[in-house]
Symmetry: C2
Subunit: 217 residues, 2 copies
Amino acid sequence: MASTTLGITELPADESRIDILQAAADCFMARGYSATSVDDVARRLGATKGRIYHYFPSKADLFAGVFRYGMDRIFLAVEPYRQMPGPAVEQWKKLAFVHTMRMMKSKTLARVVWEGVEMHLRGATTPEQRLELDGLVNYRNSYSDIFRESIARARDEGDFRFDDIAITVQTMFMALNSPIFWYVQRPGETDEHVENIARQIVGFVYRGLGGKGELNL
Amino acid sequence: MASTTLGITELPADESRIDILQAAADCFMARGYSATSVDDVARRLGATKGRIYHYFPSKADLFAGVFRYGMDRIFLAVEPYRQMPGPAVEQWKKLAFVHTMRMMKSKTLARVVWEGVEMHLRGATTPEQRLELDGLVNYRNSYSDIFRESIARARDEGDFRFDDIAITVQTMFMALNSPIFWYVQRPGETDEHVENIARQIVGFVYRGLGGKGELNL
DNA sequence: TTGACAACATACCCGGTAGTATGTTCATGA
DNA sequence: TCATGAACATACTACCGGGTATGTTGTCAA
């Protein structure tokens, strides 16, 4: 049952372990990593610390587990479009739309991934945790590379126009990720509504990248 | 010496108080609010807690002080362009450029403001701190309203084109703010280099908003 | 000269939190 | 049926960090 993505092996998916990851993601998103106590996560599970420490050796490892879980899911979402034939700009449209949709649909996981990257940029705590975070950030970088290569190709093909690619990739991702900070799903909200938001964001970024004409997603 | 901005009164600027605010901003940016201890801030000052608690009644108030200080400075920066005559799109160009420049020049303060808004969205701690944060977030919202009205007018004047303004404002700000997460000033870096980065970001957003032609800032 | 206060430093308290050590229960295979 | 280990719960420790209470030093006005 072990799935392998980009050389990173996922442990066999334990039911109870997944529940812990989900509860941890909720807590980390609600209060941030350091403001979240392991007891908080346990309370949300209706359990105690014992259960959590049975699966994760430390709080940092719990966080890393959520980080990895979130990255695995988002990688899975864009997987169908990674080797898409045809113009790169068409591939980018698909990638960007799916990515933005996932930011909203898996908002909690996405924000934990975000905080993980932030923690890494700051310089984390102990060398061990540092190494684990390094690996995960590399994982995350290989994800953004998919987009980087896509827009680079699209520029070569004359469909996009921008100057520095590093600046552009950062700005693009910030815009595409933006809903993780302000989107809140309403009760009984239709998928179409979410897709409409995603279309507007992707459209914004599409024009920002120098895309011509309309987006028609 | 008390300056008043939008009805919010700034306390007389004490020298030592400013030093504390700056050191606190550095620490909050480096590790985040809850991971930063008051002793950390004191250490950075080469002092002890006593000095900090002499000026600020609590850690939350210290954070709020940095928040307000940062907002005051950024408000001051865009002040010259608030009542700018002529087409709104020209006003927006100035506003956006100055804003993005300040994001890089005052990166530490900008990130504390960012975290303050994040904390508010999550729902902060005690009712008192909640009230103080509420006021500061209103302060911050009045800032984003400047931009909101600017792009609304520019759309009316036919220079911008977008659908939902709430989504657009959020996406726009995320893109303009993006350098606070990845920009690092190199030693001996010229102002021109920073301006070049700002131009690229503003250009990206300008096109995203449906701006026509080149930006020529 | 002195006393009063600002501007800190020192020493301490105590609640919360990561982590551990030790039960307890239940399923499962021999 | 019994023993063994997984899957937790309970109880505890050690420490850190926010906040306070209490010095100490310099300055300045009367």
